[in-house]
């Protein structure tokens, strides 16, 4: 289960983050973020932060995360 921060520098991840809105310079995370790539085909990724769960469907980001683990 890779930490999202570990792949944050990948081009695909940067694209996805950009699509969700810019992260301001110096932004501090309030809690660690955990990503669970559940289905590479559909790009289903579950993000866990604090007591929340956010589901993404982003095949490119899912591939980027898996690529980073190989």
């Amino acid at each position: 289960m890779p930490l999202l921060a570990e792949v944050a520098a990948s081009p695909a991840a940067t694209e996805a983050a950009t699509a969700g809105g810019e992260i301001p310079q110096g932004f501090q995370m309030s809690a660690d973020v955990v990503a669970h790539v559940k289905d590479l085909g559909t790009g289903e990724i579950n993000l866990f932060v604090g007591e929340r769960q956010i589901q993404l469907n982003d095949p490119a980001l899912a591939r980027a995360i898996v690529r980073a683990t190989r």
Partner: protein
């Protein structure tokens, strides 16, 4: 056991494992209900250097359904925080603990209590409430009752709470029962071996548990009907990461929503009536969805095994093929009025939900209560709620053996054995007042099991 280590996954997570739930009109304060939820099964009293404590990463809850839908209209939430006063010693205590604020207790635990109502609104009732330490021994905790009494905390609204170690109150001859259903009264008749009849052995003798006890006004729980359904849960966040920075302690990161990993309403429900492959799944479910487990109640596996294990002892039970409407009523819907007596009822409606049902309008039995509860003619006992001393194992064993079928099917005659089957145990380490469970055993007196 009642619900100790009753499912494969939760048996590996004792801090979140709910072992027993009790709900009863307080015998010494009959305008109130006492709710007790125990966790951490089979605590050996000699547990140093790391004595037992609640999990800081576990959400403990006591849930109350007051309209029969199998969902909680009232939930009490408990979260714990552990601190280390001196990180440079291996000791749990660095001197006698004579007051729960003593700095000699090196690992104090505090907790918060919050109440969630039917609208989902949560009110924090208190924070920073202190638990007592574990009962270590006469040098470390010389007056344990004093420490425990200091940990009785008053909450707004006439409520009282306690959280900490207590003596195990549940008793069962577990070693015999799970040895191919050996029931001591009949063990000379067992199909797999004619053992000499011996007295029962209490498998939970002299072990401790961790207790959350809450005494609240009856009006805090009811809404119209005097009957409530009670169950306890424990939940963990979905993700846990063991982060091990170089040269420092292990840092754990918990993330995500809390998911339920343990549940308990009626004693022995998950233990005996749910098949092994579904036990951990059952722990994640809400009572409102318990119709999916109703087949295990209507056709209990144990009722089929008893006539096989004890040939010719349960012939009437062996011949009974109808769904067990008696167990369905006792465990899943409550018992309608007119079945036990004209006025006795724990019925909550048609929703099949495993909840410990308590009719709060039935007064407590203060003189010579019967440990067999309703089965023994004492309407203030299990399955009308559950008192700390109720012999729930014998009650449920007799029910499964057919003793309660005539309540719903007068054509059935129970086998003689159904009214005498028992694990042959009694137990009496209880208190007459809150929190009712006895002083925990100390490691000085009791070797680790």
């Amino acid at each position: 056991m009642s619900s100790h280590r009753e499912a494969p996954e939760i048996s590996k997570d004792p801090v979140a494992d709910s072992t027993d739930v009790y709900a009863f009109v307080s015998p010494d304060d009959p305008g109130t209900v006492t709710l007790i939820s125990n966790y951490i099964p089979l605590e050996g009293p000699a547990a140093g250097p790391n004595f037992y404590e609640f999990g800081d990463d576990v959400l403990y809850q006591i849930n109350i359904d007051n309209d029969g839908d199998g969902l909680a209209e009232v939930t009490y939430n408990f979260k714990f925080t552990t601190t280390i006063r001196n990180p440079n010693t291996f000791l749990y205590n660095t001197g006698p603990i004579t007051d729960i604020a003593d700095t000699t207790w090196n690992r104090p635990q505090t907790y918060s209590v919050a109440r969630t109502n039917a609208n989902g609104h949560t009110t924090v009732l208190a924070t920073g409430l202190t638990c007592p330490p574990c009962n270590i021994g006469p040098l470390s905790t010389p007056n344990y009752s004093h420490l425990a009494n200091q940990a009785h905390h008053s909450l707004p609204g006439g409520r009282t709470v306690f959280a900490g170690q207590r003596a195990e109150g549940f008793y069962v001859d577990l070693g015999a029962v799970f040895d191919l259903g050996d029931l001591r009264p009949f063990e000379q008749l067992h199909a797999f071996g004619h053992l000499p009849q011996r007295n029962g052995v209490n498998s939970t003798k002299q072990v401790n548990v961790h207790t959350i006890a809450l005494k609240v006004p009856i009006s805090d729980l009811t809404a119209g009907s005097p009957v409530i359904g009670v169950w306890a849960t424990a939940s963990r966040q979905q993700v846990k990461i063991y982060d091990v920075p170089s040269g420092t302690n292990v840092n754990t990161v918990n993330s995500g929503p809390f998911v339920q990993v343990s549940r308990l309403g009626n004693p022995l429900f998950n233990e005996v009536l749910v098949p092994m492959a579904k036990k951990d799944y059952w722990n994640t479910q809400q009572p409102k969805d318990d119709a999916q487990f109703a087949d295990g109640v209507d056709h209990p596996e144990l009722a089929g095994l008893l006539p096989i294990l004890y040939p010719a002892v349960f012939p009437n039970l062996a011949a009974y093929a109808k769904p067990r409407a008696d167990l369905d009523a006792i465990l899943l819907t409550g018992i309608p009025a007119g079945v036990v007596s004209p006025t006795y009822t724990t019925f909550t409606g048609s929703v099949k939900a495993d909840m410990l049902r308590l009719n709060t309008s039935i007064p407590p039995t203060t003189s010579s209560p019967n440990v067999l509860g309703v089965l023994g003619g004492d309407l203030a006992g299990f399955p009308n709620g559950r008192r700390v001393f109720d012999d729930v194992f014998t009650i449920e064993l007799r029910a499964i053996a057919g003793a309660t079928i005539p309540l719903v099917d007068p054509s059935f005659s129970p086998d003689g054995a159904a009214s005498v089957v028992t694990d042959g145990l009694t137990f009496n380490n209880y208190l007459p007042n809150f929190p009712y469970l006895g002083v925990p055993y100390s490691g000085y007196d009791v070797p680790a099991k």
